[in-house]
């Protein structure tokens, strides 16, 4: 229990520091939101329009850095994240709320699938190293080392452009009304297949390789030999003696991976024009939209910390040595 309390304290301090960095980093960027807006509309802005935008965004009347910083903490603690510049006058919470679900579902589900699939296959491959199944390793490693945008584009070109099996952009068919209908869910799934499959294919090797190698190491341990000597069933040895120990490092990585789901996959969302949070973050950064950037970083920070906390918790559950330490 002391262990968990100590970890909690650690995460609170980390959180405060991370959120302060979130505040300062964007402000080190040159330029201001009005200039970014001008760049976005490529030149067609007259001095009169410029004057209006300056008033709108209060560019020349911004408070000092310290006043902004205290204001920032007041806003975070009250759950009010301000108004986005890019989507003025829409509140930041609204912008995040409308884009996060798409990413959570697509990237989240793919991360889980990739983890489960990779771990199970890795477990089986590691059980009998040197078998035919080992051929999976170079193949999956190939797909994970190929840059993701290239894989995505090739998939888009072949399956979207050449044979027309899948749509080339968007998250659902725009002529279907949004709602919990079979038609809409079906169209959303259909649009998710191409980005989803490419994401799983490119991340699978990470889990597979780690699990297989840990499995091989673990199976060399004396307690596995003892279990075999006791005449335990093969499934029991593979699951309870091998996999349970081999999976520990993967659990920590999985928690991190889940934390990073909220950052979306910017490249995926750009290649497939998927309306998720990664694309919104890209927009926020390129438009110097401080409130929106802060809001998204806040969500990312909190989720990553939470995921790590949960990973610590799982460790305590799975590994008696962690309990002993405490």
């Amino acid at each position: 229990m002391l262990y968990l309390a100590r970890r909690t304290g650690f995460y609170v301090v980390t959180g405060v520091i991370a959120l302060s960095i979130n505040f300062f980093i964007p402000r080190l960027m040159p330029g201001n939101p009005v200039l970014s807006l001008i760049a976005r509309f490529h030149t067609q802005i007259t001095p009169k329009t410029l004057a209006a935008l300056d008033v709108l965004f209060g560019v020349h009347h911004r408070a000092g850095l310290w006043a902004q910083y205290t204001q920032y903490w007041r806003e975070i603690l009250s759950g009010n994240l301000g108004v986005s510049f890019t989507y003025f006058p829409t509140p930041v919470t609204h912008v995040i709320g409308s884009s996060l679900p798409w990413t959570l579902v697509l990237v989240g589900v793919c991360t889980v699938i990739s983890f489960v699939l990779g771990t199970v296959i890795g477990c089986v491959v590691g059980w009998r190293p040197g078998s035919v199944l080992d051929n999976l390793l170079p193949l999956s490693t190939f797909f994970s080392t190929v840059p993701y945008f290239w894989l995505g584009l090739i998939a888009l070109f072949v399956f979207g452009g050449l044979v027309h099996w899948f749509p080339v952009s968007g998250a659902y068919n725009t002529s279907v009304p949004i709602g919990w209908t079979w038609q809409f869910v079906g169209s959303a799934l259909y649009h998710a297949i191409l980005p989803g499959v490419t994401l799983v294919v490119s991340t699978l090797a990470f889990w597979l390789l780690r699990m297989r190698n840990m499995m091989v190491t673990t199976l060399g341990e004396d307690y596995v030999l003892l279990a075999e000597a006791k005449g335990l069933s093969r499934v029991r040895i593979m699951g309870m003696y091998g996999a349970r120990n081999a999976i520990l490092p993967n659990i920590a990585s999985f928690a991190m991976a889940l934390g990073f789901v909220v950052t979306g996959s910017i490249v995926l969302e750009v290649v497939f024009s998927y309306p998720g949070i990664g694309y919104v973050l890209y927009q926020a950064v390129s438009n110097e939209d401080y409130p929106l950037m802060q809001g998204i970083f806040l969500v990312i920070t909190l989720v990553v910390l939470l995921a790590n906390f949960l990973a610590d918790f799982c460790y305590v559950m799975l590994d008696p040595r962690a309990r002993e330490e405490a």
């Binding site: 200039l35 989507y87 725009t174 024009s273 694309y279």
Partner: protein
């Protein structure tokens, strides 16, 4: 990131080249889809005055909100009566009276009256944050239910255009909100369409049953999101939208070739892009030097090499926006065209006292070699190609050109403060060449070097020019035409700035499902889906039967 989107463009190009329609975008024939590049995920805000609202990024403001008059962007002598059926300009253009259309209703059924117009302009005056055209007036009053009177502080003929093209909003809804922060998620306007459905990836509009002009022939308008030029390329190439308005680059290869029978584009100039010399500096203060610079430029090469051939070279030395303002071209300049003439440039330089030893650099009166700087903002990468072309063309008269690369913010302040030798500049837009000239030549907008100017950035100062500009603001149409002729002579003879190329209004369309698009033969409107004429275009379309 950049690499990724660069490659996405390759992907789009490949898909465009493969052509044919992607069935996932089953475009039904009564739905017109319009595509805006860089719109990104929408947020449900329809405030027509905010450039960040979904209405603006999707380019659909004019489908919901309407102005008093509509100006044909392709042929601005066409002015269509809209919420005002007629208007009068009195008192040397110091008073404007608009007579409003009767029996117009807001989409919630309430009547549209002069009070709505008065409210709209008072709101703009009270909120400088949304007064994006900087409209100024002393008072606006409702003379009666259908008559509105604007009183201006001084003669200002050009203000009429900004007043007449402002979107009018309903007083009964907007009076209780702050117009500069109002999201306007359920817009109520007088326009032909109302909001049908909103999603971050797609906005749909449907016919407004209360519309004063009767039911539009396009039942549903669809505005699918695309988040970059590359995804817009892909969507248009695959037939996901029939109406586009972004720069395709090579439009023939990426778009037209996919379905040459129905797909078309029509690009028309929207304003001019010019080379601004800093007239307070040597050697730019010498008119013969400026003429020599202009004489040695091959503008067609800039059009073809820097702009894929789709931003057209300016041919007339008046800098006039043609063909849009062909009725404003002075008769004596009708047959005058720019022709690259290096010999003439050399003669002008020799006449002005510039010398050259053998194949050495051009030497100024002070005995130093002439080296020019053109300050350009790094995000506008096509301008750097322009500068490269200028640099190589000016090698003939032995003028050296440096191209410092600065950030957008630095460039803007450099321009405003006069901290440049040469720079490129995009003109204003409006229904007459006057609007472009005024922004470039009006000495009342400028400021001494080191202080912020809002116009006349090259610091042109000429009492004769000022007289011509004020004649236009206070004059009758005949006097205005004469003043414009005079201003054209100033540009031709004194070259206060050097016209280069036109900026194009991007417009691609497929007439497979709908016909009646504007063309060069029938230029009833400018076709760009994000332009002021978008509503005009939609109201002209008919389903192909």
């Amino acid at each position: 990131m950049l690499l990724a989107s660069g490659l996405a463009s390759v992907g789009a190009a490949a898909i465009g080249a493969v052509g044919t329609n992607v069935t996932a975008w089953a475009a039904s024939t009564d739905v017109l889809s319009s595509n805006q590049s860089n719109a990104g995920p929408y947020q449900d805000s329809f405030n027509p005055y905010l450039s960040t609202s979904a209405a603006s990024t999707a380019g659909l403001q004019s489908m919901i909100y309407e102005p008093l008059l509509q100006y044909d962007g392709a042929k601005p002598s066409n002015v269509y009566p809209w919420l005002a059926t007629s208007y009068k300009s009195l008192n040397h253009n110091r008073t404007f009276i608009f007579y409003l259309r009767h029996n117009v209703q807001w989409s919630d059924g309430k009547p549209f009256t002069a009070n709505d117009v008065v409210f709209t302009f008072d709101a703009l005056k009270r909120n400088p944050a949304i007064n994006t055209n900087g409209i100024q007036f002393t008072s606006v009053t409702a003379v009666n239910k259908y008559e509105v009177k604007f009183q201006l502080a001084s003669p200002n003929a050009s203000e009429l255009y900004y007043i007449a093209t402002t979107y009018i909003v309903p007083e009964h809804i907007w009076q209780s909100v702050n117009p500069s922060t109002y999201a306007d998620s359920n817009p109520v306007g007088t326009g032909p369409y109302v909001l049908k459905s909103f999603a971050t990836t797609d906005i749909q509009l449907t016919a407004n049953p209360h519309y004063w002009g009767g039911s539009p022939h396009v039942a549903t308008l669809n505005f699918p999101m695309s988040d970059s030029d590359q995804s817009a390329d892909t969507m248009m190439a695959a037939g996901g939208a029939q109406w586009g308005g972004h720069n395709f680059g090579d439009v023939a290869k990426l778009y037209i070739n996919g379905d040459p029978k129905y797909r078309h584009y029509w690009y028309i100039p929207t304003t001019s892009i010019q080379l601004l010399p800093n007239l307070t500096q040597y050697p730019f203060n010498n008119v013969d030097f400026r003429k020599a610079l202009s004489e040695s430029i091959n503008r067609l090469a800039i059009q073809n090499e820097a702009e894929h051939g789709y931003e057209y070279a300016i041919k007339t030395p008046t800098g006039l926006l043609l063909p849009n303002f062909s009725n404003e071209l002075a008769p004596q300049f009708k047959n005058l065209h720019y022709i690259q003439n290096v010999a003439a440039a050399r003669a002008l330089l020799a006449k002005a006292g510039f010398t050259r030893k053998g194949s050495g650099p051009l030497i100024g009166k002070d005995g130093k070699a002439i080296t020019l700087n053109i300050v350009l903002p790094s995000p506008y990468f096509d301008w750097f190609t322009v500068a490269d072309i200028l640099s190589s063309q000016w090698k003939a008269p032995a003028i050296k050109l440096n191209v410092p690369r600065v950030s957008l913010g630095t460039w803007q302040s450099d321009e405003a403060l006069g901290n440049f030798g040469l720079t490129l500049n995009v003109g204003n837009s409006g229904p007459s060449q006057y609007y472009i000239y005024n922004g470039l030549l009006n000495n009342r907008l400028t400021a001494p070097i080191g202080q912020t100017a809002t116009g006349d950035l090259e610091r042109w100062s000429s009492p004769a020019t000022q007289r011509l500009l004020s004649t236009y603001e206070s004059g009758t149409p005949a006097q205005q035409a004469a003043a414009l002729d005079g201003l054209e002579s100033v540009v031709v003879n004194d070259l206060p700035y050097i016209p280069l190329i036109y900026q194009s209004g991007w417009f691609q369309y497929s007439n497979k499902d709908f016909v009646g698009w504007p063309t060069s033969q029938n230029p009833y409107a400018i076709g760009a889906p994000n332009g002021l004429n978008a509503e005009l275009v939609v109201l002209h379309l008919r389903p192909r039967s």
